[in-house]
């Protein structure tokens, strides 16, 4: 039965060329090398000291006068040499120390057993100081989170150190993945510390309680998930190792290059190139230097490794650590916006009664527009009526501002080509400003061309999407720019600049009659979803049993949604199905449409569980195990379930999504 259940998993592993795993656990240590706690030593000493015969015998093992003398090696010798009926031997055998060793083995042996017999893998059992030769060619390592005593924080460090060493020592083509396992449930929280200590990228290991690994279905799921990540994970680690390795060299070269720039270089740039065109010097230098720095960092030398990354194929399985890290959001935002831009400077300062001259503008300059709420708006409660009809695809204009302040925020971006923005152009040149609405993250599916924009004033700094309205363009005469900027009803302030490639894309989008320039594909902007699990008890009566945040991710994709449930969440679903089966077996629950076999078969259907754990497309709803388990999105109408076999309905609710 167990074998049949795991057959699809086993096949999957074979397809991924995974045939050998190692299990590293201090339970496999020789007794003489196992750490002994003070209490354990004291217990043994107390018993020996009390028993005159044992005490005499103990002298032969250099155990003379106290718990200091109780050492694992000596205890091991006692078990080896003392006769069966010796009291000394009896004391050691009955000790808490030996009990702990036995329990340790009992917690890990079943895992080895499952790996070997059910998943058909060759299993190497190794102690806490494995010989690296034993690990050659092994790609998946189950590593005990604590190599040593449970209450010793160093035992966690030891394990991280070992992982780091194993990773460094193994061949380039065969770097292993780790399953960090522990009898303690804390292992999942502990994985961040482990990542920092071991310096492995987060995807190279997965933290799992041993209890979960002793369950065949769950063990299978973990093994498959890791096997899928093997190849891409290596590429990614190689990329990040190479990049990190490159930092020092890059920094050195960059410093050298900056030092090498002579004063006359600076002068030449400013005098010969910029002054006439009135381009700000600082801006220009930062553009120049950042380009050079990027080239050093990610340039030709990284080409081969970048190519490797191009080939990474995650095969629809987002590995281990599901949640996109917050670092990614930071990187993306920095890639699109330069937020280190000063407020506008005007060429000729304002004098009494006379407005200042023209400002220095750039393509992509982003202005935050603070509009005072109209009096009527207050009467109309929360509803804000947009001045113009919303463009196609935009449901309603959403004010993104603090309601207390009675203002709404929006943005405007300069669309003119750079050459149109020099200060020597005529005063009547139109400055084109593209209007963008700010929509709180997670509130809408169509995140538009700029899905993430962060500013402390906007939505409490939580981030928003910018919905550019290409039908709403302001044309401000260059000479009157000051008046536009300081308009009492809608004050503007320059807060950032969209980087060139992104800005050009918007420019071209605006000039839609021209050839489009493809925007670099946005990073996966998931919407974190709240999921609600409804237990269909009988005749469609449902009971909400579980509401969890951040357990599913929705990605809009070509008119459909792609949905990904987290692995822990799928594990929870398994538990719910198991519980229902138990209830039916125990006669606590009856389901007229459902037999015990239906559930047993579902639990044994590894292939279907794998599908549920992978990314799947969903339009309104998606059925699994026949109709046993249905995933629906919140936008789909709830159907009657009187005659179905459905026992679980998972409602993926995107209403309250968050930042990446």
């Amino acid at each position: 039965m167990a074998n049949a259940l795991l057959q699809p998993f086993s096949t999957h592993l074979v397809n991924r060329h995974l045939s050998q795993v190692a299990v590293i656990d201090d339970a496999f240590d020789q007794m003489g090398e196992t750490a002994l706690s003070l209490d354990e030593a004291t217990e043994i000493w107390n018993l020996i000291e009390f028993d005159e015969t044992a005490r005499k015998a103990a002298v032969g093992y250099q155990i003379l006068a106290g718990s200091d003398d109780i050492q694992p090696q000596r205890l091991s010798e006692i078990l080896e040499h003392e006769p069966k009926n010796s009291p000394l031997r009896g004391i050691v055998q009955g000790s808490e120390f030996l009990k702990r060793i036995t329990e340790g083995l009992e917690s890990v042996e079943p895992i080895c057993q499952l790996l070997a017999s059910d998943l058909g893998l060759t299993v190497k059992k190794l102690g806490s100081n494995p010989a690296f030769g034993d690990l050659a060619g092994i790609q998946l390592i189950f590593l005990d989170w604590r190599l040593g005593l449970d209450n010793d924080p160093e035992s966690i460090d030891r394990s991280a150190e070992l992982a780091k060493k194993i990773y460094a020592e193994s061949e380039e083509a065969n770097k292993p993945l780790f399953v960090l396992m522990s009898s303690s449930e804390d292992v999942v929280q502990g994985s961040l510390a482990f990542r920092q200590k071991s310096e492995l990228i987060a995807g190279l290991f997965q933290a799992v309680p041993k209890k979960e690994l002793r369950d065949p279905l769950r063990l299978g799921m973990h093994a498959v998930a890791l096997a899928d990540s093997l190849a891409p994970a290596h590429v990614v680690q190689r990329f990040s190792d190479a990049l990190i390795g490159n930092v020092d060299q890059t920094a050195a070269e960059f410093k050298e290059a900056v030092r090498a720039l002579t004063l006359s270089d600076y002068a030449n740039i400013q005098l010969l190139t910029l002054k006439q065109e009135q381009q700000p010097f600082g801006d220009y230098m930062s553009w120049l230097l950042s380009g050079y720095l990027l080239n050093l960092m990610l340039g030709p030398e990284m080409a081969a490794i970048r190519a490797g990354l191009d080939e990474a194929d995650f095969q629809d399985h987002v590995p281990a650590l599901l949640e996109p890290s917050s670092v990614l959001a930071l990187m993306y935002h920095a890639a699109v916006f330069d937020m280190g831009v000063e407020p506008l400077l005007y060429g000729v300062p304002a004098t009494a009664g006379k407005p200042p001259g023209k400002p220095t503008l750039n393509l992509g300059d982003v202005f935050l527009v603070t509009t005072k709420k109209k009096e009527e708006a207050e009467d109309a409660a929360d509803e804000y009526v947009p001045a113009e009809a919303p463009p196609e695809g935009v449901v309603a204009e959403i004010p993104v501002a603090d309601p207390q302040e009675q203002v709404t925020y929006s943005v405007a971006m300069v669309l003119n080509a750079q050459c149109d923005l020099l200060r020597n152009v005529p005063d009547d040149r139109s400055i084109l400003l593209l209007h963008g609405q700010l929509s709180p993250l997670g509130e809408r599916r169509d995140t538009g061309l700029t899905p993430l924009f962060v500013h402390p004033d906007v939505h409490g700094g939580q981030g928003a999407s910018i919905l550019w309205n290409f039908k709403r363009i302001a044309a401000v005469p260059y000479g009157s720019f000051y008046a536009w900027e300081t308009d009492e009803q809608a004050k503007k302030k320059r807060i950032g600049r969209m980087r060139q490639l992104s800005a050009l894309t918007l420019q071209k989008e605006f000039a839609s009659d021209l050839t489009r320039i493809g925007l670099p594909v946005n990073p996966p902007i998931y919407q974190l979803a709240e999921v609600t699990v409804e237990l269909i008890v009988n005749k469609g009566v449902s009971e909400t049993v579980l509401i969890s945040e951040r357990q599913a991710r929705i990605m809009p994709h070509k008119g459909k949604d792609r949905c990904l449930l987290t692995k822990p969440f799928v594990q929870t679903l398994i538990t719910l199905v198991e519980r229902r089966l138990e209830n039916i077996k125990a006669g606590v629950q009856t389901s007229p449409n459902l037999s015990e076999d239906d559930l047993t078969n579902a639990l044994a259907n590894g292939t279907e569980w794998l599908k549920l754990a992978a990314i799947f497309e969903i339009k309104d709803e998606k059925k699994f195990f026949g109709e046993l388990l249905i995933v629906v999105t919140n936008s789909s109408p709830i159907k009657a379930l009187q005659n179905s076999k459905t026992i679980l309905r998972v409602v993926v609710n995107t209403q309250d999504g968050g930042v990446l």
Binding site: S37, L38, D39, T42, E43, W45, N46, L47, E49, F50, E52, L64, A65, G66, S67, D68, N151, D152, P153, E154
Partner: protein, 780 residues
């Protein structure tokens, strides 16, 4: 006529005398040891919650007042309750259910319920025969133990019991006691059951009225078996696992000298059959101590008793050796013979700077090391014949007043939580150091005071000073250069830079074009110069502050001396007045006024001499004759010397010479006063040791070498202490009598005048120095 002893008296000797469960158990453990048992087992069983047990007892005791039917119901209800609350996890719970069910009536059930919670102390020692039980066990204050040899027969142990009331401590643990015992060779066990309640029920009962008699008990399976099991039931309070653990860690672990683990008397301590761990002192903890001290008080042939020892800290080792007057002084005993009666003892202790504790291999992380240290620290424990004298060194005991001293000193250095250690005495060697009847430390007596003061001296004075000195020297070592060094070096470098710049300009004239660079360098040099002069200014201010501090301390000491004098004078005056008979008041009044006047005269004289010490006059240097000053000072003390029976002589070389000084007069007086005060103190100690001693002080002034030599024929200063005497806070006077500042300040004053105050090595005799030399050098 004779004393009649009421039955209740037994209570005062047992339950009321013993203040803790730990001590009660300790007494019973000692009995097992004295019976030559190889070990002792203590089992605590709590099979039913204490509260439930009490409730059941109450219900079952009211049984006789109930009707027949109610009785049956009552017993059944009690059986149910007992079963329901029986802790099924305690091994053997099933047997108890059977016992409960087998009960036919309230009395039977009551008996079972009372036994459900029990404390059992069993040993396999010599055991007692029926006759022993009668003669020895039931005789309170046992002559038994005193008449028998103080060494046990088969194991040669020093007998611990001395009063013969230890067994009564069982009373503290519970109301009923059952003793089952037998000697090897006897065919059956002997049983003695005592219900302590019986002694208090009748207030008028005499002790002899309460029948207690041992009876022959069950047959022994093996006649060679011997030993004693004491079972205590109707426990005095409820027991929890944590209490047992606490007793094991805090009391049992320290019952035997933890520094001699091989001699520990094995205790198997179980709570509901689960072993309660009794830790031993991890040797690794001692290896990591920051300072260690060991030493002894023992008799040497030439010097009598000597307190010697060795201290180690930061790689430095210092030994100390104190005999005779030193011991007399620091212990502040009335009579030297008392010191002899303390008898020999030894000590060993370890000091930990808790702030720099680290993880220790084998002990674990810092937190565990801290916990282990906390378990063992608490000051010095005391062991007699290897067994602990409670409660010294325990969590609530500060018998050496270490914490109080530490607190008073600031920095809280050398408090009990930093110390792990013990002192060792023996019942044979230290017969004067005996336990109080309640086993709460040693009985108060002069020998105990002397013993305590010697140990306190070693910890609070000797070690404290050694730690501070070593730390100070370390700091000094870390700051190798003084200001003048820096100054010189800086000047040298300045010159080097200027020269190098000149060289540069000469060989590379182009440099001149970069005027700004050269200017920057010169400017940099200037600012360094400025900073340096700032530092110099600061240093001067510091020096100024230092001399002010010395002045202030000097004034403090002076005021103290004055206060002492005024006090003494007043006392004398009062005494004089009180002796005046009222009837002759008018006549006596005249005489009293006379006496008072003479007292006041003395006081005034003193005040006049000390007048220059007043702050206003202090800092004014003036020209004067040292010979005259010394003479004045000595004269002002004439009454004092007379009282102390000290002969003083002043010798001037060459005869009639004068020694002109330019100094602050008050400060020189200060030095002399200090030397006089020290001498009289130590001469007094010498006279205590030898009342016939003729005390002498000789002051020699050598005008040609400009030296004042101050010699007494007191005990002198040990060569080993010669560096220490001038250190601040060094003293071998008992606590409260010396601040250890006098010589420190005197030397500072001497330095202030460009003079020197030293010990005269030429006067070295028998390892001790008796002469101070004040070298006035260029103070003219």
């Amino acid at each position: 006529m004779s004393f009649k002893i009421s039955a209740r008296t037994i209570l005062h000797l047992g339950a009321e005398l013993i203040s803790s469960d730990g001590i009660a158990l300790y007494e019973l453990i000692k009995n097992a040891y004295d019976a030559d048992s190889p070990n002792v087992t203590i089992d605590i069983y709590v099979r039913i919650p204490y509260r439930t047990q009490k409730e059941l007892q109450q219900k079952l005791l009211t049984d006789p007042d109930l009707s027949e039917l109610d009785r049956i119901q009552n017993v059944e209800a009690c059986k149910d309750q007992a079963q329901k609350h029986l802790d099924a996890t305690v091994p053997g719970a099933n047997l108890w259910i059977d016992q409960i069910n087998a009960c036919k009536d309230a009395a039977g059930l009551l008996e079972v319920v009372e036994r459900m919670n029990e404390i059992k102390i069993s040993d396999t020692g010599t055991g007692m025969s029926l006759a022993d039980l009668d003669d020895a066990f039931l005789t309170v204050g046992t002559p038994h133990k005193l008449t028998e040899p103080r060494i046990t027969v088969s194991k040669g142990r020093q007998v611990l019991g001395e009063k013969g009331i230890g067994r009564l401590s069982a009373m503290r643990l519970g109301n009923s006691m059952r003793v089952v015992t037998s000697k090897g060779g006897e065919g059956s066990w002997n049983v003695l059951e005592i219900d302590w309640d019986a002694f208090t029920r009748d207030l008028d009962a005499a002790l002899a009225d309460i029948p207690v008699s041992p009876t022959p008990g069950p047959k022994k399976e093996d006649a060679t078996l011997s030993g004693t099991t004491i079972t205590i039931t109707s426990l005095a309070h409820s027991w929890r696992q944590e209490q047992a653990t606490d007793i094991a860690r805090q009391e049992f672990a320290k019952l035997n000298d933890p520094f001699e683990p091989q001699n520990r008397f094995p205790i198997r301590f179980r709570f509901n059959q689960g072993l309660v761990l009794i830790p031993d002192l991890p040797r690794t903890l001692l290896d990591y101590a920051h300072a260690r001290v060991s030493g002894s008080f023992s008799k040497s042939e030439s010097l009598g008793y000597v307190l010697t020892g060795e201290m180690t800290y930061k790689g430095r080792v210092k030994t100390f050796s104190l005999a005779r007057e030193d011991l007399l002084s620091l212990s502040d005993v009335l009579d030297y013979s008392l010191l002899e009666e303390v008898g020999p003892f030894s000590f060993e202790f370890y000091w930990y700077n808790r702030r720099i504790l680290t993880a220790i291999d084998g002990l674990g992380m810092l937190k565990q090391v801290r916990e282990t240290l906390a378990d063992w620290a608490g000051g010095l424990m005391l062991y007699r014949d290897g067994f602990r004298v409670m409660p010294y060194g325990g969590p609530d005991d500060d018998w050496l007043s270490l914490d109080r001293r530490a607190l008073a000193r600031g920095g809280y250095k050398l408090n009990r939580t930093q110390l792990v250690g013990r002192a060792k005495i023996t019942s044979e060697g230290n017969p004067a150091l005996v336990d109080q009847a309640n086993r709460e430390g040693l009985r108060d007596c002069d020998e105990k005071k002397a013993f305590v003061s010697m140990l306190r001296y070693v910890v609070s004075e000797a070690l404290w000073l050694f730690l501070n000195q070593t730390d100070k020297e370390e700091v000094r070592a870390r700051e190798p250069v003084d200001l003048s060094d820096i100054d010189a070096r800086l000047e040298q470098q300045e010159q080097d830079i200027v020269r190098n710049l000149d060289d540069l300009i000469r060989s590379v004239p182009e440099v001149k074009k970069h005027r700004e660079v050269l200017d920057a360098i010169r400017h940099g040099l200037e600012s360094v110069r400025e900073i340096m002069s700032g530092v110099r200014r600061l240093t001067e201010e510091y020096e100024q502050g230092r001399s002010e501090l010395v002045n202030l301390a000097g004034v403090g000491l002076t005021v103290e001396i004055l206060a002492h004098e005024i006090n003494r004078a007043t006392e004398h005056a009062l005494q004089t007045l009180s002796n005046v008979p009222t009837s002759q008041l008018s006549a006596a009044a005249g005489r009293t006024v006379e006496t008072l006047a003479s007292q006041l005269k003395t006081l005034q004289k003193r005040l006049r001499i000390l007048d220059p010490l007043s702050t206003a006059g202090r800092n004014r240097k003036e020209q004067f004759d040292a010979v005259e000053l010394v003479r004045d000072v000595l004269t002002s003390h004439s009454e004092h010397f007379q009282r102390e029976r000290i002969e003083v002589s002043l010798r001037v070389h060459p005869d009639g010479a004068r020694l002109h000084l330019r100094a602050v007069k008050g400060m020189i007086v200060q030095i002399l006063e200090n030397l006089i005060s020290n001498s009289s103190y130590w001469l007094r100690q010498r006279r205590r040791l030898n009342p016939d001693h003729r005390s002498e002080i000789v002051v020699e002034i050598d005008a040609s070498t400009r030296e004042i030599r101050f010699t007494d024929n007191g005990p002198g200063i040990a060569v080993t202490d010669q560096g220490d005497v001038f250190q601040a806070f060094f003293t071998t006077k008992p606590a409260g009598q010396g601040k250890g500042l006098g010589l420190f300040i005197s030397r500072e004053i001497a330095k202030y005048h460009g003079a020197e105050l030293n010990l005269d090595h030429d006067s070295l005799e028998d390892g001790r120095i008796n002469t101070f030399v004040l070298g006035l050098g260029s103070t003219s």
